[in-house]
Amino acid sequence: MLIFKLAIRNILRQRRRSVLTALSMAGGYMLFVFSISLLEGSWSNVVDIFTLDQTGHVQIHKDDYAKRPKIYKTIADNVAVETLLNGHSEVSGWAPRAYSPALAYGGDKTSVAQIMGIDVTLEPTVTRIKQKVSEGTYFDDQPDADGYFKAMIGRGLANKLNLAVNDEIVLISAGADGSIANDVFVISAIVGNAASFDRFGVFLPLAVAQEFLAIGGDVHEYALLSRDKHDNERLAKDLQAVLPTLKVSPWQEIEATFYRTMQSDKQGNYFTMGLIVFIVFIGVLNTVLMSVLERTKEFGVLKSIGCRPSELVKLIFIETVMLATASILVGLVLIVPVIMWFTEVGLKLDLAVDMGGVVFDTMKGDFSAYVILMPMGFMLATAAVISLPPGLRAARILPREAMGSH
């Protein structure tokens, strides 16, 4: 314990220097944490935007439906899958879907469209579909007074076919049994905007879509949310193990290109941060080395009274790490409120970015163990390593030379 007392005393001996060094380490830590928080937060935000817009965190399909969608690639054993999803503790919401391309007619105009059969109660537990309704009201799965079922259409389709709420829309498609699917629906709502992924989409109640496409009780996709959005890949793996006949994919696979882009951007940022921390530690090295050299005489005395070289190395090591820890803790105390503010409130951007109907106008940070602890670990490790060269220098001092200096 003597060694700790010594370390503390040594740090306090050169107050100004210690403070300056501590400041630079604290500053470095705060910058690092802030930068990571913002980086992770913005990407997290972007990921949220599309996972909660359409993809979900994990998707289940039959075979390679995700890459090459064909109407006949359906999931048939729904009961089994749904029971599993309902009972799974890591799944916080799930929704079944059926899809098909179709031809849509409004008046005498025609357009291609994408039919999306969704469960009216389950879909909002996975996506923000309800918030995306820009005109009209979110639909239900009951026919109206005239016997027509309801549909919600995308903005692109509404514009192209000049359709409004309460208009009729005719859909023609091919059924899975080869029949010609044809029907009329009443538009209950228009969703999204001209740039969202669903701009040429027609949302139908799932049962209606299943009937229309002649796929019986089958669906094309299950989309689900994992309780911990950072852990979705593990959830996907777990589910895949229990569902060997189907393909379970995390969003990172579904949106592989985006994922790669994100990883590269993060990589680039880490690189920059690494450089900054490197600078900080050159400063720390400078300081520690100077301090050691300054205390050459002292070390000489210590060694001559029997202090082992390894003890000296330890001393320097502890001094540096203690100082680093103290600085980081100070930095932590200062930066946590900032990060929390950023995560909860965020910075309002003057240029709101519209991503597919979801307006992204606040830059938010991420507040997680990773954001706080990774920089801490990295810097402590660096501090520890940085302390070795000066420590070794101290250890090699020969008492006679040391005491003779100055």
Binding site: S24, A194, T272, G283, N286, M290
Partner: protein, 406 residues
Amino acid sequence: MLSVRLAWRNLFRNTRRTLLTCTLITSSLMVIILVDGMVLGMVEVMVGGITHTLEGEAQVNRKGFRENLEPELRLMKPGPISEALKNDERVSGFAPRVMVGGMIASTYNTSGGLIYGVDHRAEQQVSKLKQALIQGSYLTGAKREILIGKLLAELLEVDLGDRIIISAARVGTSDITQELFRVQGIFEFGPEEMDENFAFVNLEVAQAMLGREGQLHQIAIRFNDPEDAKDSKLPTLVNLREAEVEALGWLDLQPSVGGMIEMSNYASTIAGAVLFVLTSLGVINSMFMSIYERIYEFGVAKAIGTTPGQIISLVLFEAFFLALIACLLGIVLAYGASSYFEAHGVPMGRMEVAGVLLDGNLYTKVEAYQFVVFPVYVTLLTLAAAIYPAIFASRIVPSQALQRAL
């Protein structure tokens, strides 16, 4: 003058510390230059990708065309527009185009796609179509040439020379027109959407198919100075605008990209500022140590009548020379590193941004200002950091200093 000579000599009295502090400053400078180079390189790739791959730095379209690519929305009088562009010195090239959606059929399969009719010579000055070819050869203007994407070629199961039939609707009537082509070349731009859905044929053929000889859907423009494209008030573009015609630079065509670049600069500036702060802490620390070491000397100097001002200027000169050496070193090293990366690229992994594939390496940009402006900043910074220590030195009380016989 004495101060200057003294300052210079003082620096080398403790070469090790001078070297260490130098390392700190040099590293900062290098980091700033490199990161700046990387950011510039990234922006250039992105912007270049967006504007030079296919879209052009600016476009002239019929108003509303870009929304759904309705073939009816043509530029009715392309003649005057072309004339104007030909005579405009700002314009280095422009490519007239016709674009129509249609069916692309091979002997084995059919698919939908977007067919571009292009002028093969003009296109080379604006887009990277020719460079994107991975098999076969470029258009020469002969009637039956077609270039298709790699993924489309796979889907249609075709190879060079195979038959392709394009079916599209004549503008304004419900006639379908069909034309026979032979695969002249296969391209790979990177983004799936392009390689799976685009086909390029010669302009006159496409115009004839649509029954609209002489008319165009779009003119893509490249400028001699890429900065011109960002200027929405550029006379070149303003003069082309009419009631039904829009002429926009890429920033207006894709505003979100501009927003992103802004943010990128913003972030870099912040990081740079913090870096400076951290560096100055290190410099301050270092200067203090050097002063402490010589506190006896300063005491003597003051005792024999050196004015505080002279002491301050001494310390500042020391700092100045330190900065000078560090910057010179930094410039040389940064230039070396940046040039290396300019040639070989920083490995970054695959990213797709705004429909552009950034593959593998990021090439830094070496710009003159980096080696002039940044060193100046760093020098000023060093001087600023030295002020506190300098003032401290000037206030040393000789009687106390002389007691510290180190």
